[in-house]
């Protein structure tokens, strides 16, 4: 505990966000905020999500929980009970921030809306992060990652032109929504510190998917052109636009091939094929032929060799790595990126380190809490409660 304070030292966060929405709290805890994960008595459902250590389902041994819970303390509160709701209100008095991801209207139905909570903490910064946001035609829809990424226009742009669209890996837009929420929360802290006022942020994963779109939203508006999926190519309608930017097979796997925009002649050097230069007057127009020339050479070279040679020439090629390769990657090893975190139930967990290296206010690694692990500790720290009072809360069912 002798670590220097993080940049967000002293900010108290009640984290009621569930599943992959928990990344907002993880980012806040990583930057040094004091984050308390508030779970229902049977735990955040994320605890039941595979994969688990040794593939044995166990609420303390899920990979996602171990990552997203890191650096948080954990308490259980039964919000379905009156004593539980009273306890949450008392904790809100001591909190700067509350982040939650319940279905819209759920907390209000329990008498725990933002306005209700302002009675306890008039300058509370709160973020509600959901798939669709708090109001609008879809607000009462059932949400899921595949639904948000579809409605935000991002799914249809992923995949090969001759096949169905394909969903990007995992909970990518939920994770982005959580990241937007974390940014919004800090803006709320700045606003509060300047004015004394709190704020309520309504964050949506569909909007987060839309934010990922980049240029197509504008291209459609100005050129009336509906951008379509292009496989692994970065496509451009102008045949003179640089190419390649794509994935190609090589001798032992795949590489990402990318042009050096200032020196299109370097590709011919790498491929030991001077005639490739003739294709560079219209690189995008000659994309298929460029792929064929690359494939012929790549078939005889392994991926690490290809990338080493290309990067020596200043061609920004990279290897397509797998998770097993990434966790052993010598570059990440040299940087000490992965952290070995001790966990009482999961043992030594090798998990991703800092989202950013803050040289003056270090990343707080920490581990995920056991279910209800810090019930007594948090009630003592935040509310000054002692043994008998905590026992009374337990007895009346506030903690479940």
């Amino acid at each position: 505990m002798a670590e220097a304070p993080g940049a967000l030292d002293g900010i108290r966060v009640l984290d009621l966000a569930s599943g992959s929405f928990g990344y907002a709290g993880r980012l806040l805890s990583g930057f040094g905020a004091e984050v308390v994960k508030v779970e229902p008595p049977d735990g955040d459902p994320v605890r039941s999500w595979p994969p688990f250590l040794d593939d044995e389902p166990h609420p303390e041994r899920g990979a996602r929980h171990l990552h997203l819970g890191a650096g948080k303390r954990g308490i259980t509160i039964d919000l379905e009970s009156e004593p539980g709701r009273r306890l949450l209100r008392r904790l809100v008095r001591e909190a700067d921030v509350l982040v939650e991801s319940f279905d819209p209207g759920y907390l209000a139905g329990l008498g725990l809306s933002y306005d209700d909570l302002l009675e306890e903490r008039p300058d509370l910064v709160m973020a509600s992060v959901t798939h669709f946001g708090q109001d609008g035609p879809y607000a009462q829809y059932r949400g899921a990652e595949i639904v948000s990424v579809a409605l935000g226009g991002y799914l249809k742009l992923t995949g090969d032109p001759d096949r169905e669209p394909v969903k990007p890996y995992d909970d990518l837009t939920v994770g982005q929504a959580a990241l937007h929420a974390a940014v919004a929360i800090l803006s709320g802290i700045f606003h509060r510190d300047a004015t004394g006022e709190g704020d309520l942020f309504d964050v949506s994963a569909v909007d987060a998917a839309l934010f990922l779109l980049g240029g197509p939203a504008q291209t459609y508006y100005f050129d009336d052109e509906v951008t379509m999926r292009t496989g692994t190519r970065l496509l451009h309608p102008n045949p003179r636009f640089p190419y390649p930017s794509t994935l190609r097979p090589c001798k032992d796997g795949y590489i990402h091939a990318h042009q050096n925009y200032r020196h299109p002649d370097l590709l011919a050097v790498l491929l030991e094929d001077p005639s490739v230069d003739d294709l560079m007057d219209m690189p995008m127009g000659n994309a298929d032929e460029i792929d064929r020339r690359m494939d012929a050479w790549l078939a005889n070279h392994d991926k690490f060799e290809v990338v080493r040679r290309a990067q020596e020439l200043r061609l920004p090629f990279t290897e397509v790595l797998t998770p097993v390769e990434t966790v052993k990657d010598p570059h990440l090893e040299d940087r000490g990126f992965f952290l070995e975190v001790e966990h009482p139930e999961a043992g030594t967990v090798r998990q991703p380190g800092p989202a950013a290296f803050m040289t003056g206010s270090p990343w707080r690694s920490g581990r995920a809490p056991l279910l209800g692990e810090h019930n007594g500790e948090v009630l003592a720290d935040w509310l000054g409660l002692e043994g008998p009072e905590i026992a009374a809360l337990r007895a009346e069912g506030a903690l479940g």
Partner: protein, 413 residues
């Protein structure tokens, strides 16, 4: 500009997408962001191809690049020749009165220009500098160049995205860049708060790869703890079923849906008019449905293929099944929900007219959300920088301009 970050001054020495996103998000929140470019229009030229000039506006195509203006909304623009001593000195004068510098040049540029952290610290001891290298400033790959898709390749995102029966894929467009840009904006704010409390600035090194590895954590921890190599699943899910996109009437039209529990399964059976499936013991559990998902998918598609994707969405949601049409960008523009939320925010650009910006994903009760202004035209911040920020006299400003240290019009290049 107003907002929570009013009075915070950001200098942005950025290229491509990730760095500009960081500055755009900070500008959205009211920071005073100055985008500094070298005196050519190269950064814009690679994507010139915007609409024709609007009536009465000058024909300056480099001011009409749609994606550039999206990425630089709410900022001012100034071109400074940093390679010249006078340009560097002018830049350092700006740093002396700035809070944060954001840069994402290739790894050696800042050092070569002698404007790296130690140089900045000499003129502004509590400056905050954020570098956004692809892989970090240390380690064997520190000197590697890469754009976003190359980072998606190294993170494992490519390996885990795509069809089961095809090579690795790629998430659309710029996942890596948007993620790094937002993370950088978060780090910048955290560092400003830290400085306000302690008086200390700092250097922040944000490796785009390491930012992206946060989302890969479940697969990475699985690899480290179980030795498992996860594979891409197409549109399927590791343990839930059904989960996918299903063909609807029309060309390339699909609806996405998932069943997360037994209750939703019963809803789905009703919605697709196959109530008897709800009584099929083989399909009564998540495990059973996962095992028989080929069969289930075929039954779902029998139903969806008779319907428009919007209608399918409505019917499925009305029955309590998580579902949504797979929208293309034209449909996104017309979607009633996104319009209700104002997810596309229109701003008046001086040379392009009405311009749609994609908002950050939040709305604030106090109105602290949305886009603070349109993209900048080339050199539109020159007076602000020379006269307001640096306090130069009219004569001195003119001298700096005639010497070509700052430019109001791009040089060829």
């Amino acid at each position: 500009m107003t907002g929570p970050l009013t009075d915070i001054r950001i200098l942005e020495l950025t290229t491509a997408v990730a760095g500009p996103v960081a500055g755009a998000v900070l500008a959205d929140m009211g920071a005073d962001v100055v985008k500094i470019e070298q005196p050519s229009a190269r950064g814009r030229a690679t994507s010139i191809g915007g609409p024709p000039p609007r009536e009465g506006a000058p024909d300056r195509p480099y001011n009409r690049v749609p994606f550039y203006n999206e990425l630089h909304r709410g900022k001012r623009h100034v071109a400074i020749d940093l390679a010249r001593t006078e340009g560097r000195e002018l830049y350092l004068e700006l740093v002396a009165d700035a809070d944060v510098v954001v840069e994402n040049f290739s790894p050696r540029v800042m050092g070569n220009l002698k404007i790296d952290y130690p140089d900045l610290k000499l003129v502004k001891p509590d400056i905050i500098l954020i570098s956004m290298p692809a892989f970090g400033k240390t380690g064997p790959y520190a000197d590697r160049g890469s754009y976003g898709p190359g980072i998606d390749a190294m993170s494992g995102l490519s390996h885990l995205t795509g069809y089961v029966d095809r090579p690795p894929g790629k998430p659309a467009n710029f996942y890596c860049d948007q993620n790094a840009g937002l993370t950088a904006a978060f780090a910048a704010m955290a560092a400003v708060r830290h400085r306000n409390r302690t008086g200390e600035g700092q250097y922040i090194e944000l490796s785009m790869l390491e930012g992206e590895l946060q989302v890969l954590a479940p697969a990475l921890i699985d690899a480290a703890m179980n030795g498992r190599e996860q594979m891409r699943l197409g549109n399927r899910h590791a343990w839930l079923a059904p989960h996918g996109i299903y063909r609807c009437t029309g060309d390339d039209a699909w609806v996405a849906l998932v069943v997360e529990n037994d209750e939703q399964w019963a809803h789905l059976c009703t919605a697709i008019e196959r109530p008897e499936l709800a009584n099929d013991a083989r399909l009564a559990t998540t495990e059973g449905r996962h095992e028989h998902q080929d069969e289930i998918d075929a039954l779902i598609e029998q139903w969806t293929s008779q319907r428009d994707h919007h209608e399918a969405q409505q019917l499925l949601q009305a029955a309590g099944v998580p579902a949504g049409a797979v929208l293309d960008v034209a449909e996104v523009h017309g979607d009633a929900h996104l319009q209700h939320r104002g997810s596309l925010e229109f701003r008046e650009h001086p040379e392009m007219g009405r311009f749609p910006h994609t908002r950050t994903a939040w709305r604030s009760r106090r109105g602290n959300h949305g886009v603070s202004g349109p993209g900048p035209t080339y050199g539109d911040g020159t007076d602000h920088v020379l006269r307001t920020l640096l306090g130069y006299s009219e004569a001195k400003a003119a001298e700096v301009e005639s010497a070509g240290i700052v430019n109001r019009n791009p040089l060829p290049g």
